[in-house]
């Protein structure tokens, strides 16, 4: 390896950080207020559900507010710090409960629910007492208080312990024994078919009772005892109902912060007469990803993250860097210059877009479907008229205009003569409407097309840190992953990343592509009982967008988003789309604004731009493509997957020469056209 330095972006997950590192790597933008404490609101009594996709920083944030992290760098008096902060965070991971054990084995659901509830009391209370065990020494009347606390806890049990408990250690050990007894019974259930457990507590008695006792005996008035329950998605529906019930029946000073993946909330039902918890009433919810995406300081935040990583890894010796300095680490591309240089290697007749055009005209000539073209000589004239060697992008634009005319059955030879004049005029004055429109809406796509035609890849369009920030789509971990892979490739290629020379375009392209592949694979690492195949659906959708983008006459600029009426597609398709959203493969563009002049609600989704390099898609969101119900079902409902090829072909036929199916396709996709807002009617 050409550099002996470790990759500063190796660690991308909060779980891999020690408690000290959570503090050290923490980036807080404190002006004007702490973004993250505004999310968690640790002092607020209202319970909160924090939903975040993988890499949203959910665990990092929740751990940051746990007691274990809060006490690092404290004053030395844990109780004083708790009083100052106004809260104490008791961090609990649902994954540690191994809750799937409380299921089936020939036992009824009711018994499991009661058993699980009992188990939770024992589990949570061990956690909270472990936090306060070490605080006893700070109390003036340590022995007396401890004994009082233990006595009060004993009284909570329906059947008190055989031996009186006089220290917190004894209480914790007692709770542990009870818990292990439940474990042993649960483990043996498959063989015995029964459970032999005496439930010795009522619901919430310890979970709420212990904070009340601590508040009184440890003088912790106005302190919120915050149960930070993470990995909520690991609980079954019935188990979540139980926690929902605790939320509903919450007793101060306790409160809850529930952390879950986007797909993690399975129900809002409770055991309280079948009532459901309602947002705004029993809880607030925060969508971390969406918050981060709309956070105006997100870009600044990730640049600080970047700087911090370089600083800790000793690549730099400063705590701050400006945007310009950061950008210099990455080779940047001037697309106009690069294209000129690429195209200059071809002779006029070998330029890829002209070779393609010529092939299409020749094929169409034999079938007589190229209006105004009756001989090979006509083809040569057309190509000559489109030639504008001084400006390859303009040349490319000219081919688009010709294709557009072809789709409208214009005389191509005559049109090419007009194009010749227009291109010269636009080159000089920049005022030809056709060119202005195309370059305004489609330049990025034209550039991508040229790259792809010349290099079979256009991933150079994803290079530079500003693109990485855009691609990460509000998930800091995605940003780190991109940098991790870029660094790896740069090292492999013999470069010195974050040294004196910028990371090459090649290394960036390779890294960003690998990050995209990683993201696609990683998004699907989730338990899945469903009939649909999200991976396949996203692949089909992306292929469709790709083919639109690289068609002869792309109907949409920057195709990476679609609109759909979720009320009219099949329920399986809808479920698949929503699932893809919870896996962050699709990002909701808005909250389903009402379409103009229509009462139907249209939802809009963008393919996560982390995936863009995998399919050469754009990362910037512009318009959305209206998909018909048939198309949506073909992409997302397994019962209709077989229709996809045909429907895709129909749609693309009006974008690719010789545009023969255009009129029929337009007729058959009328339903699609009706659902499109006006601005999405074909731009070309």
């Amino acid at each position: 390896m050409s550099t002996s330095k470790m990759n500063p972006f190796t660690i991308t997950k909060a779980v891999d950080f020690s408690d000290q590192e959570i503090r050290d790597y923490w980036v807080e933008l404190t002006n004007p207020a702490s973004f993250f404490s505004e999310i968690i609101k640790p002092n607020a009594a209202m319970p909160m559900i924090i939903l975040g996709g993988k890499g949203s920083g959910k665990t990092h944030i929740m751990r940051r507010y746990s007691h274990q992290i809060q006490r690092i760098g404290g004053s030395g008096s844990v109780l004083s710090d708790i009083r100052t902060n106004g809260y104490v965070g008791i961090y609990v991971r649902c994954g540690g409960l191994n809750a799937s054990r409380f299921f089936q084995k020939g036992i009824s659901e009711d018994i499991w629910t009661a058993t699980f509830a009992y188990y939770m009391e024992l589990w949570f209370s061990q956690n909270i007492l472990a936090v306060f065990k070490d605080c006893i020494a700070e109390l003036n009347d340590q022995e007396q208080t401890e004994r009082s606390l233990c006595n009060e806890i004993e009284k909570i049990f329906d059947i008190p312990p055989e031996q009186p408990l006089s220290t917190l250690d004894e209480v914790i050990n007692y709770l542990s024994r009870l818990q292990k007894s439940v474990d042993a019974n649960v483990n043996n259930a498959p063989f015995l078919g029964t459970l032999n457990i005496t439930v010795n507590l009522s619901r919430g008695s310890l979970i709420f009772g212990i904070p009340k006792l601590l508040e009184r005996l440890f003088n912790l008035e106005n302190v919120v005892f915050l149960y930070l329950i993470d990995e909520f998605e690991n609980l079954s529906i019935n188990q979540q109902i139980y926690i929902n019930t605790l939320i509903r029946e919450k007793q101060e000073p306790a409160s809850f912060r529930i952390g879950a993946r986007l797909y993690g909330i399975k129900t809002s039902k409770t055991l309280s007469g079948g009532e459901e918890n309602r947002e705004g009433s029993e809880y607030e919810s925060v969508y971390l990803d969406a918050n981060m995406r709309s956070w105006d300081k997100y870009a600044t935040f990730v640049r600080e993250l970047f700087t911090k990583r370089l600083s800790i890894a000793s690549f730099i010796h400063t705590e701050t860097m400006d945007q310009g300095s950061i950008s210099k680490y990455f080779e940047l591309v001037d697309h106009d210059l690069a294209i000129r240089e690429m195209i200059s290697r071809y002779t006029q007749n070998d330029k890829p877009y002209f070779v393609k055009l010529k092939d299409k005209l020749e094929a169409a000539l034999t079938k007589r479907v190229a209006p105004g073209v009756s001989t090979n000589s006509d083809i040569e004239k057309i190509l000559a008229n489109l030639a504008f060697p001084q400006n390859p992008v303009l040349e490319k634009c000219s081919t688009i205009i010709l294709y557009k005319g072809w789709s409208r059955k214009q005389n191509l030879l005559q049109l090419s003569v007009e194009i010749r004049a227009w291109s010269a005029q636009h080159h000089d004055k920049g005022d030809v409407p056709e060119y202005k429109k195309i370059l305004s809406y489609f330049k990025t796509d034209l550039v991508a097309q040229i790259y792809r035609e010349c290099r079979n890849s256009q991933s150079v369009g994803y290079t530079g840190i500003e693109n990485y920030i855009t691609m990460s789509k509000g998930l800091p971990r995605n940003f780190l992953i991109i940098l991790k892979h870029v660094y790896k490739w740069a090292s492999f290629n013999g470069e010195q990343p974050f040294g004196n020379t910028p990371i090459s375009l090649t290394s960036q392209e390779q890294g960003v592509k690998e990050a995209a592949n990683w993201f696609f694979r990683d998004a699907q690492i989730a338990v899945d009982n469903n009939k649909y195949d999200v991976e396949k659906s996203i692949s089909m959708l992306a292929e469709l967008f790709k083919e639109i983008r690289f068609s002869d006459k792309p109907a949409e600029s920057s195709p990476c988003a679609f609109s759909v009426d979720l009320t009219t597609c099949t329920s399986l398709a809808k479920s698949a789309i929503l699932r893809a959203e919870t896996l962050s493969l699709l990002i909701s563009v808005d909250d389903g604004a009402r379409q103009k002049n229509s009462m139907r609600t249209v939802s809009k989704y963008q393919i996560n731009s982390m995936l863009a390099p995998r399919w050469d898609l754009p990362i910037a969101l512009r318009g959305t493509i209206g998909l018909s119900d048939d198309e949506v079902n073909a992409i997302f409902d397994p019962n209709f997957y077989d229709d996809f090829t045909r429907l895709k072909s129909n749609r693309l036929s009006r974008m690719n020469a010789p545009f023969q199916e255009a009129s029929r396709a337009i007729m058959s996709s009328n339903s699609a056209m009706q659902s499109l807002p006006e601005e999405q009617i074909e731009l070309l």
Partner: protein
């Protein structure tokens, strides 16, 4: 084809990072690919086939070699003894008793390298000792095995030794090991017919193992990994070409390797070696060296033949 080429490069990069101890980085690969420059587009097809072969290269780094030396000791030497001891003690579970008896056997065993002290066998033996936490006393050299009195016959220095175990990294054709050891092994067996003389290697070809079994009086010849015919790159049953890849042509690859192999070996060298010593056609290498049974395109020497190797070979100088 570009997509497939990128896929191969990516695979090699991942091997470079995870298994190849940082060898064969991007720059070295580009330099190596410059060797393949005949045919259209500057040897595009040759380069692709070279990458394909490289992506199938099996490399054993230091960590792997050490682990496999542990396996030689544990699985090939120790376990048969343990098994015998345990059976003799009526299948006892008393591991202390078993170990006690094993130690007696161990003290009567000697581990030896193949080749002279300057060769790789001896550093292998050093790793072997370290990994298996063995005392120096159970190691010896072939020259230390015999006593030659000024007058009188050759005798074994320690006739109580019951096990002689020769440790090697690779048994290719078996000829070198046979030449080096045949006479000594015969002497040991003649002087102590009850002694068990074994040859254990990390890798061994089927032909090489057969050669040793047929030509040297070993009681046991056993590699950890036996390389059968399918490990020869261009054999009919080659496991590298059994999956049909769209752009890969076995015949083309073979011809390419043969052509360049002929340029890599010294002038006048027998053609049988063009695809590796004695037509080895292998794709293996170790941290410390690449056997010449491996395709020469992998290890060809730049001083002798102006060839940029991707994994350097350190030849034995005779």
């Amino acid at each position: 084809m570009e997509v497939y080429k990128t896929h191969l490069k990516n695979k090699i990069r991942r091997l470079h990072e995870s298994l190849w101890e940082g060898r064969a980085n991007g720059k070295e690969i580009e330099q190596w690919l410059q060797n393949f420059n005949e045919g259209e587009n500057g040897g595009e097809k040759e380069k692709l086939h070279a990458l394909f072969l490289l992506s199938n290269f099996m490399y054993f780094g230091t960590r792997e070699i050490r682990e496999l030396l542990k396996a030689i000791y544990r699985d090939l030497y120790k376990y048969p003894i343990i098994k015998r001891i345990r059976r003799s003690l009526s299948d006892t579970l008393d591991t202390d008793k078993i170990e006690e008896m094993f130690q007696v056997e161990l003290k009567k065993s000697r581990f030896l390298a193949v080749g002279n002290p300057s060769e790789s066998g001896h550093h292998l033996l050093y790793y072997f000792r370290q990994e298996n936490r063995l005392s120096k006393d159970v190691f010896t050299h072939l020259s230390e095995t015999f006593s030659i009195a000024p007058t009188g016959p050759i005798t074994l220095k320690d006739p109580t030794i019951r096990n002689y175990v020769f440790i090697d990294d690779f048994c290719g054709s078996g000829q070198q090991a046979a030449e080096y050891l045949s006479a000594s092994v015969s002497s040991i067996k003649a002087l102590n017919p009850d002694a068990v003389v074994s040859y254990c290697s990390i890798l061994g070809t089927k032909d090489g193992v057969s050669h040793l079994r047929n030509n040297v009086q070993f009681d046991k010849v056993e590699p950890i990994f036996l390389l059968d015919e399918t490990y020869r790159s261009f054999a009919p049953q080659s496991r590298f070409f059994d999956k049909s890849e769209a752009f890969i042509d076995k015949t083309f690859a073979m011809a390419m390797c043969y052509k360049y192999g002929g340029r890599i070996w010294p002038v006048g060298c027998d053609q049988i070696h063009y695809l590796g010593w004695r037509d080895g056609q292998l794709l293996i290498g170790f941290h410390h060296n690449v056997p010449d049974n491996t395709l020469p395109i992998i290890w060809g020497n730049e001083e002798d033949s102006k060839w940029h190797p991707i994994f350097k070979r350190f030849p034995k100088f005779v």
